[in-house]
Amino acid sequence: MEQDLISKKDLLELTGISYGQLYRWKRKQLIPEQWFIRKSTFTGQETFFPRQLILSRIEKIVDRKEDFSLDEVAEMLSATPYDYEISKAALIERNIVSKEALRYWASKDAEDVVYPFDRILFFGLADRLLQTGDMSADEGEMVLDMLSRDYRKWGDHPCDLLFIRKMGISIAALLPADSGFYLDQGAKLVARISIQAEVEQLKGKLF
């Protein structure tokens, strides 16, 4: 599966940003190092980017750079969740995760329990699948289990959560964001969620 790439030149043309801005954002670590992909072309080595990731990232940077310093924007965008904790009660109060989700998956936790950022992220991901009706509450348990066991194994590499069904059986998977995959004919990809997008959205809500 050929991943959808965009060349640096096309990117600048499409977004109207300049070379200087792109290099500046790279310096400030607003754009992850892994997104700079080198490929040989007839003009020598050229740089390409994962199309979807870079376009949504640039849109976010442009949106925010008026109101925040680049360092602040970098903080908001960094894929590595920072130390932000919030209590269960506040999660409901601030409508970060739905009541139903917490009733299903966090009924055993006390109201004043404080969740680390990762846990909030996992709730958010599962909640999203729950709200779209793609997944049942029981399946949510499975997704949460997998995330808490395996999410950190990818380190800082941006990854996607996949939810697959085949003949009533559901499977959750974690894949690096820039990778493709093939399923057999009977299997159906129900959802593919960018965890990084979720992280950024969540940070937007928490800030």
Binding site: K9, E13, S18, Y19, G20, L22, Y23, R24, K26, R27, T43, G44, Q45
Partner: protein
């Protein structure tokens, strides 16, 4: 903010130091530090080797310094020779002499007079290079990029006057910036918004957005307006 007080390291003569977290480090004479060094201020005079990485807000290198790892800080002043594995990150780099970095290098302001060798990308806001000797940088990217020869009397005293190989010029693959002003540079590709190609340049492809000026004493194989 850290308020913990760290020890200082002051060395003179022929010395051996240990890595670690220091408040101020001052090295005079000849010696080596075993392991990574982290300090608020780092000053090295003479000949020193750091067998690890160096992190310090303010760094002053006089003489010869070799760093076997990366370098990170806010301000770097070099008078002499620096060899490092890299990467090198600093807000402001002011270099007088010879610098050789294997990896990438980034700075908001990068001002160098001398001979520059960078094996990776030199990424800077304002980059100004005055060459006194042969320089080689794989890629340069940034906002304002300026590469030129230092005034002749500065380098004619050196080998350059006698040995053609030592005449100040830059070898690069790609140079990309908002404003690129280069002379005595051989590059495969130069791209920018406003591009000024000075004397002594040999460029494969130039791509520009709004402005291109080419000195009669420059050779360009292909130019494209974007």
């Amino acid at each position: 903010m850290e308020t913990a007080k760290y020890p200082d390291m002051r060395m003179q003569g022929i010395w051996n130091g240990g890595g670690g977290r220091y408040s101020a480090v001052e090295l005079d004479g000849v010696g080596k530090v075993a392991g990574d060094v982290e300090a608020d201020r780092f000053i090295s005079n003479g000949v020193a080797t750091i067998q690890g990485g160096l992190t310090a807000a303010v760094m002053q290198f006089n003489g010869r310094l070799k760093v076997e790892g990366g370098i990170a800080g806010q301000e770097l002043l070099l008078e002499g020779q620096l060899k490092a594995k890299g990467p090198l990150h600093a807000d402001r780099c002011k270099i007088n002499g010879a610098i050789s970095i294997e990896g990438d290098c980034s700075a908001e302001q990068f001002e160098a007079t001398g001979g520059i060798k960078i094996g990776g990308l030199l990424n800077g806001g304002q980059i100004s290079i005055m060459m006194q000797g042969p320089s080689k940088i794989k890629e340069i990217g940034g906002e304002q990029i300026e590469v030129q020869r230092a005034k002749r009397e500065l380098w004619s005293k050196l080998l350059g006057a006698a040995v053609p190989k030592w005449t100040p010029s830059l070898e690069a693959q790609h140079i990309e910036g908002d404003e690129v002003r280069i002379s005595y540079t051989n590059a495969e590709v130069v791209r920018g918004d406003r591009v000024f190609i000075g004397p002594g340049c040999r460029i494969g492809l130039v791509e520009y957005r709004t402005e291109l000026q080419i000195d009669p004493d420059a050779a360009i194989r292909e130019e494209k307006k974007l």
